[in-house]
Subunit: 339 residues, 2 copies
């Protein structure tokens, strides 16, 4: 009994069986159940050691991650890593840090040191990227969900992102339409005056402006992508300002901290205080009550990034700049209208 | 203003400032606040690009991860990755899959292909490891939180783990002492007849036996480390069996799915049904209500692994087999006694 037999018995492709065995999320629940049942019944023991030992893999794809502490990125690394493995390449993962300010220099050193055939950058600031730099680099680069790139020069590299400003605008407008006027915003950090956080803050401010509500610095919190910090900051805020009726947190990890702080302040989520997160992580769906969120197309973003990179490496594609859609998912955490 | 000035102003070491900037969890909240305040006030822009470009890093440490889909491992990868970076090495991350059955063969190929100076394996089955294998490998190996190793031959490699059987026994005994007799167990998968899951299942069964309660196969669920699957399975179970009063899930990710299923079945967590998870993830603490869990010493396990590996690489240590303690943290999800 081998993986092909399993696939035949289940009436699916070998790659589907592989995805199920690898616990890859991109499989229908019913298919997963069916495949696992057959695996179980057949006592199938996967064994590809021989094949693995034959590989002498010197083909490296680099993933440069800025801020892997955000589980959103580590989930993307998983998906991308699966695809890299499937394609016969090896993933070289490098975490980049806030103090590594010039991300383009870190990237260049990474490519040279590791003799990479291609790179995906998750997050980071690439505002300084220019023609000479791209000439020096020589290998294809895909910038995914990065904070910034050079909007004056977009040739010679690819970008895959969402419209952070628009997404934050929509979430804020939803709250405003439901009568909220005192909305707190939790960003990761407000001292970085550029990038993703700034664009989400911008979208928030734009929506307030349209509804003639003044932006109040006191309602701006910093959660540093951590549940515990978000919890403390939200508790303090709710003690100080009785009039807050809604919180918009720019990541689900921070929203969880806000949620618990609302409960511990003796208020009810979705009744006294509405809450919206950002990212579309599982935890927002399974929280009690479920938390509204802006769903990023995480799977699509990951898959598009690696597929595009592989195509670029094989000269099957030109460079592309792709903006993917987000979706505001309204759940019990904002069921109540204020007015 | 550089990182040293920041450290001086904050009255802490440079490495602490670095940890704060990297959002490393291992910093006191008060210290973090202080450092961030100074960074903010000083408009400090971290810049170590020059240093990075000077590095010509050919020193590689490999991390072989079995089942990175579990966020528990990706959090450990983060911590280990930070330490590897700090020590001037590069992390090469390889995800190993269930179908790669012979983990020792994957490991050997990984070491040879990538010319690694040392490896940490997170998860996996190393029951076949033997003297000849260790002779061939030549570089130090640390097996961390793996399912199995060869208990007959423990020379020439290191192990860092917890006692899974004991931890599961303690959680189950806690429920039994509180009068629960119909306890459901959610494991990742019960068809893998060895390793971590089997040991946790063993601990569960041992505790039942001590309290003269028969183990009922019907109360055994498989959540595959996924919240959505755990949710569906728990809902089905609670519909079928009215008498369940407690659920023990062998990972927090699965416990979240159970929690939501309890609520959606019209029951109250901690009142009608008690719930214990496993791992000690943030989400169990910030869930509503907070979920009891078995806290694994995640940070200590990660730090010990990389510190031991570096010591082994520098001939500063012998190989060690370390079993770290776990802690049952009782929270609101199991406040109620049945009898």
């Amino acid at each position: 009994m081998n993986i092909k037999d399993i696939a035949k018995l289940a009436g699916v492709g070998v790659s589907t069986v592989s995805r199920v065995l690898n616990n890859h999320p991109d499989v229908k629940a019913s298919t997963r159940e069916k495949v696992l049942k057959i695996v179980e019944e057949s006592n199938y023991i996967p064994n590809s050691s021989a094949r693995i030992l034959k590989q002498n893999n010197t083909k490296n794809i680099g993933i440069l991650v800025k801020g892997m502490f955000n589980p959103f990125f580590s989930e993307m690394v998983n998906t991308i890593g699966c695809k890299i493995n499937e394609s016969g390449y090896t993933m070289i993962l490098k975490q980049s840090y806030i103090e590594d300010y010039k991300d383009i220099d870190v990237l260049k050193a990474f490519i040279n040191d590791k003799r990479l055939q291609g790179v995906i950058c998750l997050g980071g600031n690439f505002i300084d990227i220019n023609e000479q730099y791209i000439k020096d680099i020589e290998v294809p680069i895909v910038l995914t969900s990065v904070n910034n790139y050079n909007e004056e020069f977009t040739d010679g590299y690819s970008c895959i992102s969402i419209d952070n400003r628009k997404a934050a605008y929509e979430a804020t407008e939803f709250l405003l339409k439901n009568g909220h006027e005192n909305i707190a915003l939790m960003v990761a950090d407000s001292y970085s005056k550029e990038g993703l956080n700034e664009r989400r803050l911008d979208g928030f401010k734009q929506a307030l402006k349209k509804y003639n509500i003044e932006f109040d610095e006191c309602n701006l919190l910093e959660g540093h992508y951590r549940s515990d910090i978000s919890y403390t900051k939200t508790k303090e805020l709710l003690q100080r300002y009785e009039n807050i009726t809604a919180i918009f947190a720019t990541s689900d990890i921070m929203a969880i901290g806000c949620a618990k702080a609302i409960v511990d302040s003796g208020k009810e989520i979705g009744k006294n205080i509405c809450l919206i997160g950002f990212d579309g992580m599982d935890i927002s769906e399974f929280y009690n009550p479920p938390i509204s969120t802006i769903k990023q197309p995480k799977e699509l973003m990951s898959n598009s990034s690696i597929e595009l990179l592989l195509d670029l490496m094989n000269n099957k594609s030109e460079h592309k700049h792709i903006v993917l859609d987000t979706e505001l998912i309204v759940r019990e955490s904002c069921k109540i209208r204020i007015k």
